[in-house]
Symmetry: C2
Subunit: 491 residues, 2 copies
């Protein structure tokens, strides 16, 4: 038997060099059982002609496959599937989910309905011409070349142990040191390595904290509106959740109810309104917390993207009693897919968080910790942040101007820049409907209802982010929003 | 003011090129506030002489820093800290854990004592000459070059969205497809993409499963001895845990007690004895499970490292009722630091697992999913697996021969190879003591007590793995264990 040249189809959408694509076709043919041991491969000349590539490309791919014992060479141009090639599965596959013998509804218990997870962030956001989408990386601002360089360095022999080991009891020391010596001092925070835990993004840091500190007998206070991912986390702990209304200057310390065990807040840039908690309010908050023995979780998720005015010291830096747990993230500044964040708190708390993390997921991948630590310590991160904030600040100015020119209403803070603006629709206009209608105009905005404890209260709010839209497109995007608002039938 | 050349100290232990180390020293000097805006840098000639490097190296590093606006060049050879350089932290750092105002013992509640996490796997295992350590990658067998190549490909522009996006509602389609089309069929399993979830390693897959299916009213049965990480996971769910004794052929189906809601097992290679569950027992287990309405979680953690005889079909492949949840991992075959595993089960279960994963950690990093999917689909993975199993099989033969020659007693299975052997000490000899004493001989073995429900029952067992020790060193390592056993004072 010989393998027919027709079984080779070059997938035009596939990545990689021609040579690696040929290699892949052969390897997959063997692994799936389509090409069997001892079968003769098409000659390099024939295959090259069939695929429309040069003969040397095929020869090189074949040589590579011979080296890995997928193929063996015989004589001058004969290639055969090697006797040592891997066997395809021996057992005829059975469908995984056979039968309905199991009542999954019962087995999964009374779990809360899983939230519609794609809300506000459709997968195909890149297809929109005016994507005011929040929290995705902008390829035009990202420092590809140096990130690749740092990854390559982390992939080197020197870092092999850090990449491969099962290091569940400690994090990359270089990354922890960088966070302790550079990231935190800029927030006014001094922390020892045993007061820092690297987490799988800020979400994971918040989750670990909530798991450790809350249960059905405890009460958590959260900002309203606030980060929807947090509400989901708290639901899992079954604690009592009290929403605290947020004003133009963020959380009002006096409104945090007595009996609150843990307060979750975003003082740097309130999520989603962008309000910055004034210094006096920070002191007042700490004072109240001390009086009532409340712990505070400070989610500093977007601190590094500050422009417009100098950042205020973190709550944690003002805390003299060790009652603030600080959550940081590299997701907004590097990219969310990296999944690296950190938790800063007293050593006994961090110790328990580390043990819980080990049970749930062991540790954040060593390779990414090391690559990030190279990127940070070589100063590329700071250089990129400066480019990022410079660009965001320009985009914000354009956005504010366009919004004013078009008569849009801003519903949140305007003084300190993050990566988004919080907006309000005119009376009677549902932001949900607006967002849906705008899809037709290739405009993506995020309806605000999901940020509210009672979604109906948020029906007139929406978020427009400028982290993934170029400056030039902002005016037209805003104009389209305004046009919809003027033309719509909103009853 | 100018920056003194003495403030530059080349750290001999630091990674990277000379140029990048100079860059790093300057960037960190600026970020930490030691070098201030407007200060003059040492001339390239002076700094080069001080550091003992060539002048061009310093010039290139400076040019790089100028490009990123850390420095500015003036005239022909003057460099100054740029006025646009980042500011160091504005606020004097305060110690993170000030005061003891918070009673952390009370706040953390009655959490179980965190287990001593480094047990059996000391961080410095590389310092041992005879490291019979389990579950770490062997740099001599790992395919560095192609892994780097696949990482580079994943870092390319084409994969930017996959690397950076916040893709919490779906996994890398190419990785899922590979698992569905190649990995699972070899286990006899056919699964659709919505029946597969990529997890942060097998540990995370087990954790998600336990969280979804167990609570304080349910009963889990586990193997005894068994995987210690699982016991920790179950403790968190507060379910009832019933240990099921394991014999020479693994779990005995008849011994799974009535009333078991979920049975966790390792049929391919029982952890830690290495026993393989015979085909008849697999059928019997499924039969019992159906009769008692028990769900089975099959942890197939080491399947791909099978040598010695052909693997048996996975339990999941024999399951006609959809009551088996299958856990797989690339940790043992690629490396544990990668943290990639997967969960296979009925779609409604996978849907809930995905929602829970999103709350806890969002998703496994996209970059690693993509790099792994390149490595798998190009066939490098299979080629590496073959090298790995060939080498492990040789090491195992050497190990068995040495153990026999030295009169050591094997306490587990010998017929199917994984990456370790389960051993037993002579009467009266504590494996814990043996392991401790062997440190002096530069030999690392893993005491078995922690695998047992009642640790005292395991005091005579230990595990010796051959995944991180070279073939040549095995005989001497074994000889040293035997010498200790002969010479010891064990009362």
């Amino acid at each position: 038997m010989s393998v027919s040249v027709e079984s080779f189809l070059m997938d035009p959408h596939h990545d990689g060099t021609l040579q690696s694509r040929i290699r892949q076709m052969v390897a997959q043919g063997i692994l799936s059982g389509r090409m069997r041991r001892g079968e003769r491969m098409p000659s390099s000349r024939k295959l090259a002609a069939h695929l429309g590539v040069s003969r040397i490309t095929v020869t090189l791919a074949y040589a590579d496959l011979v080296a890995d014992d997928y193929l063996r060479a015989e004589g001058r141009s004969g290639y055969f599937v090697s006797e040592g090639a891997p066997e395809p599965g021996d057992h005829p596959p059975a469908r995984a989910s056979g039968g309905d013998a199991v009542d999954w509804g019962r087995m999964l218990g009374h779990r809360p309905e899983s939230v519609p997870m794609s809300l506000g962030k459709p997968r195909n956001w890149r297809d929109f011409r005016y994507p005011f989408v929040y929290g995705q990386a902008d390829p035009t601002l990202f420092d590809h070349a140096n990130w690749r360089g740092c990854m390559l360095q982390a992939l080197g022999q020197k870092d092999f142990a850090l990449m491969t080991d099962d290091n569940f009891d400690h994090d990359d020391p270089a990354l922890v040191e960088y966070i302790a010596r550079h990231t935190l001092p800029r927030r006014g925070i001094l922390a020892a390595p045993d007061e820092i835990l690297v987490t799988l993004g800020a979400q994971n840091a918040l989750w670990l904290t909530a798991q450790l500190l809350l249960n059905q007998r405890r009460t958590a206070a959260i900002e309203d509106p606030g980060y929807p991912g947090l509400r989901e986390i708290l639901r899992q702990t079954r604690c009592r959740v009290v929403p605290v209304p947020v004003g133009a200057q963020g959380l009002e310390p006096a409104r945090v109810p007595a009996g609150t065990d843990i307060l979750f807040c975003t003082p740097s840039h309130h999520c989603p309104t962008g309000a910055t908690l004034p210094l006096e309010a920070r002191h007042a908050l700490l004072h109240e917390a001390a009086a009532r023995n409340t712990l505070i979780v400070e989610d500093d998720y977007e601190f590094e993207i500050t422009h417009g005015r100098a950042p205020l010291p973190a709550l944690k830096s003002l805390d003299r009693e060790g009652r603030v747990i600080h959550v940081g993230s590299f997701s907004k500044s590097l990219f969310p897919g990296l999944r690296l964040g950190f938790l800063v708190g007293p050593a006994p708390f961090i110790r328990e968080a580390r043990a819980l993390r080990a049970t749930v997921l062991r540790h954040p991948p060593g390779l990414l910790q090391r690559a990030a630590s190279h990127f940070l310590s070589l100063g590329y991160y700071d250089a990129m942040l400066r480019r990022l904030t410079r660009s965001f600040s320009q985009r914000r100015a354009v956005l504010l101007e366009a919004a004013q020119a078009e008569g849009l209403t801003i519903g949140g803070a305007v003084d300190v820049g993050g990566s988004s603006l919080w907006m309000r629709t005119p009376q009677g206009v549902s932001a949900e409907t607006l967002a849906r209608d705008l899809h037709e105009d290739s405009v993506l905005i995020e309806p605000g209802a999901r940020f509210f404890d009672r979604p109906e209260e948020g029906d007139r709010y929406y978020r427009i982010a400028y982290s993934s839209i170029t400056e030039e497109r902002i005016p037209e995007g805003i104009a389209r929003i305004a046009r919809r608002l003027r033309s719509g039938n909103w009853t």
